[in-house]
Amino acid sequence: MHGASVSLRELGKRYGCVRAVDRVAIDIRPGEFLSLLGPSGSGKTTLLMMVAGFELPDSGAIWVGDRDITLVAPNRRDIGMVFQRYALFPHMTVAENIAFPLRMRRFSKKKTMQAVADALALVQLGGFEARLPAQLSGGQQQRVAVARALVFEPPVLLMDEPLGALDKKLREQMQIEIKRLQQSLGITVLYVTHDQEEALTMSDRIAVMRDGRLEQIGSPAELYDAPATSFVADFIGKMNFLEGECLGQDARCFEITIGRSSTIVVDRHLASHEALPQRGERVRLAVRPERIELTPHKNQKLSGIVESVIFVGSSRTFLVRLAGGELLHVQSQTTRESYSPSQGERVGLSIPSDCVHVFPQAEC
């Protein structure tokens, strides 16, 4: 089984005056695990339905490998799909469900039986052949759905929030299993989720969607460390946002003031502006909680008062109120020698200049 490349070329789809998908272009490499991530209503399902062939795009084209499938009927696309609610056929046994795509392809009885057994072994459900879907737990139904989508060896697999209905523990286990399957089969996966943690865990690359548009596409690390917009910065991981004003700049840095007295220095290359912020322009700053360092208070440029301390095992989160009233989340590892202020204490904050993202204020 080998994955095929998938190329979405300027895809567009409108429902009435809603642009459900707005000129989205994504090239997925063979064998890649690509997630579509975005809030509910951002057009992920619509995009997936166009790839599966259940919605016709208004504009653009879809290619799988070297084949244009934009207008091909869904049953001739050879693309596997796992539906959000699994869509197992309730009147067929597990074995009949998995054999269904093979019967449609007129496989011989012997080949079908062998392939069904292999697919069930793949998802570790050997021995469940004769059960009806209603006699399986949610996690088992999920596995059957995966087996059914893989049994005809499609080069591409689509999954629409496949783990949404499972509880947290099972979900995490299935994430690992799906990833393992995808890697061992080398299949291309287009995976839809609104859960950023899930996307970060599983994906080779993530495409962030917003209001039908592609907001940013990149590896999990790229999105986490270099979000292109404040929407992406907000959506992925935890993020502190601060309003500020540009004081001035030199060859390497900006200086930005927060409130009346505090200032932050930011590396120039971290500004997401196409045009760099001008002196006097209002900007939006974003800093990850784990990038901020707390130090004992002694006349730092940025200081605040610890409002509360949240213990989360391996790390601690401090809520620090700045002089201007902004609340910052600061996360630090719990080690024996680390500085650990207590509630009510005045602390200094230091933010490395290469850890601050600057966005124009108008955006958002």
């Binding site: 259940f54 009927a73 869904p74 049953n75 056929f89 309730p90 449609m104 088992q140």
Partner: protein, 295 residues
């Protein structure tokens, strides 16, 4: 396997009802209905059937009369024949309507639903008279046929078996459409999509997924229609005339014109027994087919 709890298996037909109410409460709750049924249905029907064997003294004469006189058997046979044809036609016309109602989104589905329901709320008498208006000698159909030159003289449309079948199919259509619609609406859209995705063409997806899953509704619809058609009175009496007598008309004649109650009882007993027999056979045949779960 990490999964601890298995979902309760759904067994065909009978839900093992560990009822929420105790036996006493249940009895109290259904007692008004039982009382009503006892007084208004069980007693008179029992009386009628009793009389067919014990009036004036214990005798099987009324039953031998049915067997001896070919007319009665002919009518009985015709009744089943018409009921069968009406059921088949109502299914053929009703299924697509139910399917459209369940699958077409928004307003147009409401429009179809209205077309199905409004006749149901109209008196059967009115709907039957409408057919008389259409089919009579100088009715709309004959007028159109003659004016377009297709026929020279008016056709005999009314008081034929065709007219009875047509009108009964029309009157009984909602009883076919509604149960089928309700099962179709409960079949998730995703199932047919999944079938398409797995390589089934649209007809295959329908035949292998949607149709078998809608069988419970189709079974209910056909059974209701068939049983209603067997005992149908007003429409056959008005549209059918003497040459297409059905059992109900015959029974009515005995009770209202000839006042031969014991014989009417015997006719009713024959109709009732054969109806129950057929219904039982039908259920048996269906329970063999797969996908007959109450979904």
């Amino acid at each position: 396997m990490p999964e601890s709890s298995l979902a309760q298996p759904r067994i065909h037909g009978s839900p093992s009802s560990a009822g929420r109410y105790g036996t006493m409460t249940s009895l109290v709750l259904v007692s008004p209905l039982i009382l009503l049924l006892g007084i208004a249905f069980a007693y008179p029907v029992g009386r009628l059937l009793w009389n067919s064997v014990f009036a004036p003294e214990p005798t099987l004469a009324h039953y031998t009369r049915i067997v001896a006189e070919p007319l009665y058997l002919v009518v009985l046979w015709r009744t089943f024949q018409i009921a069968f044809i009406v059921t088949v036609l109502a299914f053929l016309f009703g299924y697509p309507v139910a399917y459209a109602m369940a699958r077409i989104p928004g307003r147009r589905a409401m429009l179809i639903a209205a077309c199905v329901l409004v006749p149901l709320w109209t008196s059967i008498l009115v709907r039957t008279y409408a057919w008389i208006v259409l089919l009579q000698r100088n009715g709309i159909v004959n007028t159109v046929l003659q004016e377009t030159g297709l026929t020279e003289t008016p056709l005999q449309l009314l008081y034929t078996q065709g007219a009875v079948i047509l009108a009964m199919t029309h009157v009984l259509l909602p009883f076919m459409v509604l149960p089928i619609y309700s099962t179709l609406r409960n079949i998730p859209d995703d199932l047919a999509k999944a079938a398409r995705n797995l390589g089934a063409g649209a007809p295959q997806a329908f035949i292998r997924i949607t149709l078998p899953l809608s069988l419970p509704g189709a079974a209910a619809g056909t059974l209701i229609t068939f049983i209603l058609a067997l005992g149908f009175y007003i429409t056959p009496a008005l549209v059918g005339g003497p040459r297409t007598l059905m059992m109900s008309t015959l029974i009515a004649q005995q009770t209202t014109e000839l006042l031969d109650w014991p014989f009417a009882g015997a006719l009713s007993a024959v109709l009732l027994t054969s109806t129950l027999l057929l219904a039982a056979l039908y259920r048996r045949a269906l329970s063999f087919s797969k996908g007959f779960s109450n979904g």
